[in-house]
Symmetry: none
Subunit: 188 residues, 4 copies
Amino acid sequence: MACFDEKGFDETTTAEIAKRAGIAVGSVYDYFHDKRAILLEILRGTVEVVADTVVAGLDLSRWEDDDPRPAVRNLVHLVFHSRDVNPGIQRILWERFFKDPEFRAATEAIEHRVMGAIVATLDELKARGRLRIDDVETAAYVIHLSIEWVSSRLVLGDDPVSLDAAVDTASDMIERFLFPEPDSGERR
Amino acid sequence: MACFDEKGFDETTTAEIAKRAGIAVGSVYDYFHDKRAILLEILRGTVEVVADTVVAGLDLSRWEDDDPRPAVRNLVHLVFHSRDVNPGIQRILWERFFKDPEFRAATEAIEHRVMGAIVATLDELKARGRLRIDDVETAAYVIHLSIEWVSSRLVLGDDPVSLDAAVDTASDMIERFLFPEPDSGERR
Amino acid sequence: MACFDEKGFDETTTAEIAKRAGIAVGSVYDYFHDKRAILLEILRGTVEVVADTVVAGLDLSRWEDDDPRPAVRNLVHLVFHSRDVNPGIQRILWERFFKDPEFRAATEAIEHRVMGAIVATLDELKARGRLRIDDVETAAYVIHLSIEWVSSRLVLGDDPVSLDAAVDTASDMIERFLFPEPDSGERR
Amino acid sequence: MACFDEKGFDETTTAEIAKRAGIAVGSVYDYFHDKRAILLEILRGTVEVVADTVVAGLDLSRWEDDDPRPAVRNLVHLVFHSRDVNPGIQRILWERFFKDPEFRAATEAIEHRVMGAIVATLDELKARGRLRIDDVETAAYVIHLSIEWVSSRLVLGDDPVSLDAAVDTASDMIERFLFPEPDSGERR
DNA sequence: GATGAATGAGTCTTCATTCAT
DNA sequence: CATGAATGAAGACTCATTCAT
């Protein structure tokens, strides 16, 4: 993981991996069928961490009943910061995403888990009459991808935007999208 | 461009490029310093098309004064569909984006142009008191990236979400984020 | 043997052999010094079967005294069909024959046994005045190799020649070579 | 060819071939798609030489009309000695023959040419009433393989049989097989 | 005696780039 | 200005064999 994280996939040789692991090249192939298989395994683990974070954060019981807004804000905050671990691996994630179907499948499997959790939460909120949207599925998709990409760009790139400002802005966007306006009092 | 579009960057050899161009391999190097330079040039052109589309669409004079919402919707629609050209090239875009700084710089230069245009438009709308947001810069950033990624995923990936539904949903999200609620009448 | 027979020597790994044998790789090396040693042992056994068949068939006491021709025909038939067992192993035989001296020695040892038996039979027939040839040694050599190769090719290759026709033809050839013409009556 | 001839196919590395050819490894791949392709090309050439020899020797116009025996003897002699060129290559021939179908196909194509020539000659001789056999096709097959194998063994192996004796014996066998006995005079 | 994880030398093949013609 | 043959470094992967447990 360290190798890939630091240098990227194509730039890491199997020899380096073995050396860093303190084993022989052949032994690498005792544990993984392929160089690609190593990446796939790592990826699953890495993305899963992010996914777990989000799914846990979506637990409605932890949301204050009268105002879901702080929870949303908190969740966005969480996602943004969860991206900090192994940024190099996430870099590889996007590098391979559209290129390698098997790889995309692995990533999407986890994304689906996250989006499923989002949908469940939205459904529940909707049942409580707290939502102003209809197409919950697509909403979850758009929200998920937006957060995913903004946070990725901030962590992996060098865009001159502060993380906090982005969290605030993204949270605002999602809140206004999902929830009816409070009777009075404009935000911000 | 056809080579890269169809097979990807690493998967295309300079020999193929030369053959398809009807010239000799050596001649490729008369026009470009590098295989990478070819990509860079192509990318500038490709992304520019998308950028031009957006910038043109942001021309306020073409917006109806009393309700900016249809314009937003139209713009989102435009962006989503503009992604259809040379999808393979855009695939390479994301493949190299976090990997190659020079490459990212080229892409970001254009993104900045787009975001600048968004900011200008938002500033103007704000001056007219039509906006409910304060941090126009960050808003432009978040909106831009959201649309960018959702449309990329839909065009390049195989997510089971209809393009139209995504356009609708994304538009709703942006509108509610930017503009004060109309006095009455729920959307959708 | 099954491994080698089905896949060939180079194509079979020691790991496969061990697995198929239900033992550990290391244990293979307890019984054989080498991968090559396994092959050598198998080969000795396999070729021996063919050799035994021929040697038994050459037992003069089983030949009708007045006409050796049916016996020859029968013997050729036998050899041709004896090649059917473990064709993969025989394939390896020819694959290694000219390549590996130790291996060739093992094979030739058996061939010598067969050729010795042929020579003995011919000597006996000659003593009885039934043979028209002088150089019995070379005759045995040429006959043996001819039958060996024709039958190998038919069994291991895909030559469009019927086995029965080949047996007939080869038998005719050998008979006319060895035995004086019957006073009258042409064969075939 | 020198590399393969001296060391064998598997034992020769592409690096060695390149070095011996005085070019770079990559250049080898400019001329041949594969290591195997090199062998295939060489093989075709080598076997073709032998084939040409035989086909030329089978030209009936060069046969004395009244007695075909000397011609046969001469031909066998020719084949046996034609095997002397690049014995290493012929060694590889048998090593790959049953193993590599594409390879076998190439070899058999040439064998068919030879056997075709043999059949033509036999047909002609038969028309002239000089032959005692009926199944010309199978006869050609058996004769061809016999000579092929005996000569290969003598040249490539270390069998303790003199080449001249083998030529004599093989010639006798073929003659007696093909031609009616001369009225009087026993051979040898 | 059996095990099977570990070894690491060895090979083929690719391809961006150059430069003599 | 174009050509395209030549380059050769680089890298993924295999597998017979060993030996500590």
